[in-house]
Structure formats: C-alpha cells, structure tokens
C-alpha cells in the first residue's frame, strides 16, 4: 500500500485487457472497461482505508471522545444512526437495483441526531467560557487586595 501507483497500474491493465477481450462493439467494450476499472479502483481505496484502520495507522481511539474527556453520547448516537441508515440503504439498493427515495422522516431523524451533537458542543463551549470568565473575575477581585497588602 506504500506505492499507490502500482495499484493504479493494475487497474489500468485490467481495464485495457477488458477493452480488448470483451464482446460487443467499441462503445460497449469501453463502457465495460470503465465500469470494471472504477469498481476495482473504489475497492482498492476502500481496502487501503480498512487496512489503515485495522492496523491503527488511522487512529479511531478518540472517535467518540469529547474534548473534556469521556465518551460522547451524541457522537455514539450519530454513529449508530449512520450504521443503520447506510446498511438499510445498501440492502434496498441490492434488492431493488435502483436508487431508493429517502423519506423526509429519515432525514429528520439524522437531523435530530446532528442537532443533539451540535447543541451539546454549544453547551460545552458555553460552560468553558463561563468558567474562564469566572476565573478572570476572581483574579480581578484578588488583585486589589494584594496591592493593599504591599
């Protein structure tokens, strides 16, 4: 996987072989060659990402972690919904061989999940800002006392 040009060459060779040996006219051959080539390319990209994830070179340890530490419930919910919708989408396409219509309710569902995540982040940021302001006020109150002691 260190030399992507090798894999691109493999795809190009497969496409050329298909171009010469596939039945039909030139346009049909070209269509087939592009189709198989694109599939192979997508598979190699996906396999590369999977390998990097499995070996830990793509670090997933903080996938669900909040900035303040600890796993985030809203991130976990978004992960579950993404799995459910993508798996459903794949099953529907495989069964019907056409692009399915995504109903508004499913989009609303993903919206609810995304909004929960965004609101949670907003609350977290607001809390940190309030804490910083409180610290600054404390320091300001202590400062005149120190001057008086001198």
């Amino acid at each position: 996987m260190n030399h992507p040009e090798k894999w691109v060459s493999v795809v190009a060779v497969v496409a050329v072989v298909l171009l010469f040996f596939a039945p039909g006219d030139h346009i049909a051959k070209l269509t087939l060659a592009i189709g198989y080539g694109a599939l192979l390319l997508v598979f190699l990209f996906g396999a590369m990402v999977l390998t990097l994830m499995a070996t830990g070179k793509i670090d997933l340890s903080e996938l669900l972690e909040e900035e303040s530490g600890g796993a985030s419930m809203s991130r976990f919910q978004l992960l579950i919904f993404t799995f459910v919708i993508s798996l459903s989408f794949f099953l529907l396409v495989a069964k019907s061989n056409e692009f399915p219509q995504v109903p508004a309710e499913v989009l609303t569902l993903l919206g609810i999940s995304g909004t929960t995540y965004a609101v949670g982040k907003g609350i977290q940021a607001g809390s940190e800002k309030a804490a910083e302001e409180a610290e600054a006020e404390d320091e300001n109150e202590k400062a005149p006392g120190k001057k008086g002691e001198k």
Binding site: G70, A71, M73, F76, I80, L87, F90, L91, A94, P100
Partner: protein
C-alpha cells in the same frame, strides 16, 4: 466473468462489513474508548451517573433494532418512521441536552445532591 452489478454488490458487501466489523471490534476491545459514556459532566470537571444519557441510549438502541428489522423484513423501500418515534427520539434528545445545559450552565438550579443528567 461476474457482471458489474454482482461485482458491485460483493464489493460493497465486503467494504461495509469491513468498516462495521472493525468499528465493532475496536468498541469491544476498548480500542475506541467508551469510558464515561453514561456519566454527565459538572462545571467542576467531576462526573456523575447520568439518567439522561441512559434513556437516550435505550431509545436509540430500540429505534435502531426496530428500523433494521423493518428493512430486513421488507427491503423494497425505506420504511416510514412513525411520528411517535420521531417525537420520542426528539424528546429524549431534548431531555439529554436540557440536562446537560442545566448541569453545566445553571448548576445552582438543582440541589447539591442531585445527579447530573
């Protein structure tokens, strides 16, 4: 040679299974950290058990299993999501977000012994 559609089907099957498998494996072996998933935050950086997070997890899991079962039973089109489910999940998320806001932004509103949502 397999047709384009067959090849695409198996390719996606392998890639999706791989993605799900790796994420589940890393969740099970704690390589993706789940520490504190059910613990609410406090302004003083302490954490406590959070009922708000537990109810959100339960409703999310129930919905996910129910929806996947519907798709597997009838994979002709996306099954419609009942408005009741949307209301339950929206309400559950609102309870979670409201609890988080209360414990982080207005900690004085609850009594000191109350657990944060």
């Amino acid at each position: 040679m397999p047709s384009l559609a067959t090849l695409a089907y198996w390719e996606l099957m392998i890639l999706l299974s791989g993605f799900f498998g790796i994420v589940f494996w890393k969740l099970l072996t704690r390589q993706i950290k789940l520490n504190g998933l059910l613990e609410g935050d406090q302004p003083d950086e302490k954490t406590h058990f959070s009922p708000g997070r537990v109810q959100l997890l339960i409703f999310t899991a129930l919905f996910a299993v129910n929806y996947l079962a519907q798709v597997i039973r009838n994979p002709a089109e996306f099954p419609p999501v009942a408005e009741a489910w949307l209301a339950v999940l929206g309400g559950s998320s609102a309870v979670y977000a409201g609890g988080k806001a209360q414990s982080l932004l207005f900690p004085g509103l609850g009594n000191s012994t109350r657990r944060s949502p």
